[in-house]
């Protein structure tokens, strides 16, 4: 069986890559909400149960209702990904499918747990005792975090392929556990899981910040803002530390990717850190340089050697003008969100309240968008930075693609469906956030009149 392939045309290869990026980039947003939102909802439900505060109970119901929609869309947008692994990249899966199969099989189990308990959580709300109902939420959280771990560990293997031997184009010996727990797994999975909580936390808080800007300063909106924002604000500093860990990993194990991230063309010692700028003819122009920054960040010494793109032929270079700006964008968003979190932390410490200026709410209403931008930029760094390899150093993307003609038309179709899906999802979610009003009467002590299912 010949398993090495070549694309039918170059356009088909581009179409396949764009289709994969589009459907992953779409799914990942929903997936982050799927990982982060159950925990945030459950905290609200738990506070509501402990204090009897109707605002918390109402928030839990409303968030659960949105979660029902988000999970459905997340599940189906994830399904097409597992199809696309075969539809678009049969060359990868035919040879290495078995090497990354184990985490995906475990992910299947996690999806089951998630879907089962979500069905119970959403639809049996009024049939279970409050404590029992709270407990049914816990498997959703565990399974969500676990599935993020499993799928990213498969991706980590593509960055750092280990645990297999190849002879004559066939995989002959596999250690699936070694493949799953490759060196890239710990930083990448941790970074991803924290990102999911940031996206969900800043995202939900942003929706309620918009409500407050429109003049709704009731307890419901305040708590709806503070609770998710706090979760995200606690995660943010940790995320920067983990991001640094990820960068050191890349510096040690994927030096060419690091060079592309930093726009570093020439190997050298005492290398500055370049922020911004654009690569033209083999050099980075217009960047702000921080002396010794890169040597220090990547290897912890001011005179450490950092490998540049000149170590490999240009045909092996990732596109610098995508990877470098994407990296700056991610780091920039991370810093901005850290500042935003610190701002609230400061006023809370001083006077147990939100900052008085409306600029805080204006900034916070964009927090969710900023987190999503960082998320997408991060994946772009990871995935585009790995090019031209689909499995780093082992298999090229062009050798993995489906050689069938007409992938371009498949992409056009998928693209059209995603446009419609995006419009419909945004429309439905916006209506959902508007239509059922917050409880206005303080004597309204129960929220059973707002069934979720």
């Amino acid at each position: 069986m010949v398993l090495l392939t070549a694309p039918a045309t170059y356009a088909d290869l581009v179409a396949a890559r764009t289709q994969m990026a589009l459907s992953l980039g779409w799914h990942i947003i929903l997936a982050c909400l799927g990982v982060g939102m159950p925990a945030i909802t459950l905290i609200a439900e738990w506070r509501g149960h402990r204090t009897g505060d109707p605002a918390y109970r109402m928030l839990a119901r409303r968030w659960a209702r949105a979660m029902g929609v988000l999970f459905a869309v997340g599940a189906v947008s994830g399904t097409i990904l597992s199809f696309e692994m075969g539809l678009l990249w049969p060359g990868l899966m035919g040879v290495y499918g078995q090497v990354i199969g184990l985490p995906f099989a475990m992910e299947g189990v996690a999806f089951f747990i998630e879907a089962i308990f979500l069905g119970i959580y959403l639809y049996a709300w009024d049939r279970l005792s409050p404590v029992k109902h709270l407990l049914t939420g816990i498997p959703i959280i565990v399974a969500g975090v676990a599935s993020a771990f499993f799928v990213v560990s498969a991706n980590a293997w593509m960055q750092q392929p280990t645990g297999f031997d190849v002879a004559h184009g066939r995989v002959v010996a596999v250690d699936p556990w070694a493949a799953m727990f490759n060196l890239s797994t710990p930083p990448q999975t941790t970074h991803m899981i924290l990102a999911a909580f940031m996206v969900a936390g800043f995202g939900i808080a942003g929706v309620h910040a918009v409500g407050m800007l429109r003049g709704r300063h009731d307890r419901y909106h305040r708590l709806g803002f503070l609770l998710p924002f706090t979760v995200a604000a606690v995660v943010t500093p940790a995320q920067l530390v983990v991001g640094d860990w990820a960068a050191r990993f890349v510096a040690d194990n994927q030096p060419i990717k690091l060079a592309a991230m930093e726009g570093l063309f020439r190997t050298g010692r005492g290398v500055p850190l370049s922020v911004g700028g654009f690569a033209v003819n083999g050099e980075l122009r217009g960047a702000i340089e921080i002396p010794y920054g890169l040597s220090l960040l990547a290897h912890g010494r001011t005179n450490a050697e950092v490998i540049g793109l000149d170590q490999v032929p240009p045909s092996d270079w990732p596109p610098v003008n995508i990877v470098h700006p994407a990296f700056d964008l991610m780091v920039g968003m991370g810093m901005a969100l850290l500042l935003l979190s610190a701002w609230l932390g400061w006023t809370w410490w001083r006077r147990r309240d939100l900052p008085r200026t409306r600029w805080f709410l204006r900034a916070a209403s964009l927090g969710g968008v900023a987190a999503v931008v960082a998320l997408e930029a991060g994946w772009t760094v990871t995935e585009v930075g790995r090019q031209p390899w689909i499995v780093y150093g082992v298999m090229r993307t062009a050798d993995a693609v489906n050689p069938a003609p007409g992938l371009v038309w498949g992409f056009v179709l998928v693209f059209a469906v995603y446009v419609v899906l995006t419009v419909a999802t945004v429309y439905v979610l916006r209506r959902l956030s508007r239509d059922s009003p917050a409880p206005t009467a303080p004597q309204e002590h129960d929220v059973a009149g707002y069934p979720v299912a």
Binding site: V2, L3, G68, L87, V95, G108, R127, V428
Partner: protein, 343 residues
């Protein structure tokens, strides 16, 4: 037993569960399409939404399970099937997206035009998706997916007599199972009129599916003679007999209004057909490729089987709890649930 056979058995169990549960969810979507105008169909749609709402996502995961086990256990076969059949599989994937999201959107929509639009999308994709998945089964069964990447014909591999029949069969079995399951759900919800209408549909669909299956055998005789021989005289014969007997018994039970037992016989008819195909084709997965030749390494197979076994310890009780929770009578009647769902 070689480990790859264990994996293939797991794949087939997953496929069976997918057809029995998710297949019926697709069928229910089809009945949603035929339920009539907004006013007339309201009670039926209410029952359908009530029945599949809590469970469809879990039922859907069986498909993911099957796909993942295929690429882990027999990677070359997975690559061959998905690359040659990329057209029907892309269409099926898009159908799955349209269906799941439209169902969720309809649930939270209040205005009539929205409910109509999302409802129509949900119902329409519920019919097309199983058809495309069925054509894929037909392509494999009739040996039209050769080994190698995109080595088969991109069009005739899934547009051929066997594929058309299996596509129709997939749509029909889903509709039939749904009618059978919904009859009992309606009865439990004390809606005798609904139960009666689903019973009538069950009877008609049962006969239609029987006829399609018979036509299928004739087509197979011409189109995939070796599978036909296995089914009619080889190892698979007992399963075919089981399928036919259970199918006939279901019609009788449905006629007699024994709505609980007919769930079992109807499922048995479908199981017989699926396992008949599996046993009839085993160990040949693709032309010239046996299970052993395509198998992943033993280390992978063993680890995967172990992971699935541990997973099963968690999943079986959870699944049981899910179905038990929603099969027990509820406080809300489906008709009133459909009145309330807009709140």
């Amino acid at each position: 037993m070689p480990l790859v056979d264990v994996i293939l058995a797991l794949v087939w169990i997953g496929l069976t569960a997918y057809v029995l549960f998710a297949g019926a969810d697709f069928g229910a979507g089809g009945w949603d399409l035929l339920a009539g105008g907004a006013e007339r169909g309201r009670r039926q749609r209410g029952l359908i939404e009530h029945s599949i709402g809590p469970v469809w996502e879990a039922n859907h995961v069986w498909l993911i399970f099957v796909i993942v086990l295929l690429w882990t256990g027999v990677p070359q076969v997975f690559a061959a099937v998905f690359s040659t059949l990329y057209i029907p599989l892309t269409l099926a994937a898009l159908g799955i997206i349209a269906r799941g999201s439209a169902f969720a959107f309809r649930k939270v929509s209040t205005r009539l035009w929205q409910r109509r639009l999302f409802g129509a999308t949900f119902a329409f994709s519920s019919v097309v998706t199983p058809f495309f998945l069925g054509t894929v089964a037909g392509a494999i069964a009739s040996g039209r997916v050769p080994p190698g990447i995109a080595a088969g014909n991109l069009v005739t591999s899934w547009l051929n007599p066997t594929s058309i029949v299996t596509g129709a069969l997939a749509v029909g079995t889903g509709a039939y199972l749904a009618a059978v399951y919904l009859t009992r759900d309606a009865e439990r919800a004390h809606s005798p009129a609904l139960a009666e209408s689903f019973r009538r549909r069950g009877l008609v669909t049962g006969v239609v599916v029987g006829v399609v299956a018979a036509v299928g055998l004739v087509v197979l005789h011409a189109d995939a003679p070796s599978l036909f021989t296995e089914l009619t005289s080889g190892r698979a014969l007992p399963l075919l007999v089981l399928s036919v007997a259970a199918g006939l018994a279901s019609l009788v039970l449905l006629w007699l209004r024994v709505f609980v037992a007919v769930r079992i016989t109807a499922a048995a008819a479908v199981v017989g057909l699926l396992w008949g195909w599996g046993v009839g084709q085993f160990p040949r997965l693709l032309p010239g490729v046996t299970a052993r030749q395509a198998a992943a390494t033993d280390a992978v197979l063993a680890a995967t089987i172990g992971a699935v076994a541990v997973g099963a310890l968690l999943l079986v009780p959870s699944l049981w709890w899910l179905y038990a929770t929603f099969q027990r009578g509820s406080r809300q009647e489906p008709a009133s649930a459909s009145d309330q769902e807009s709140t």
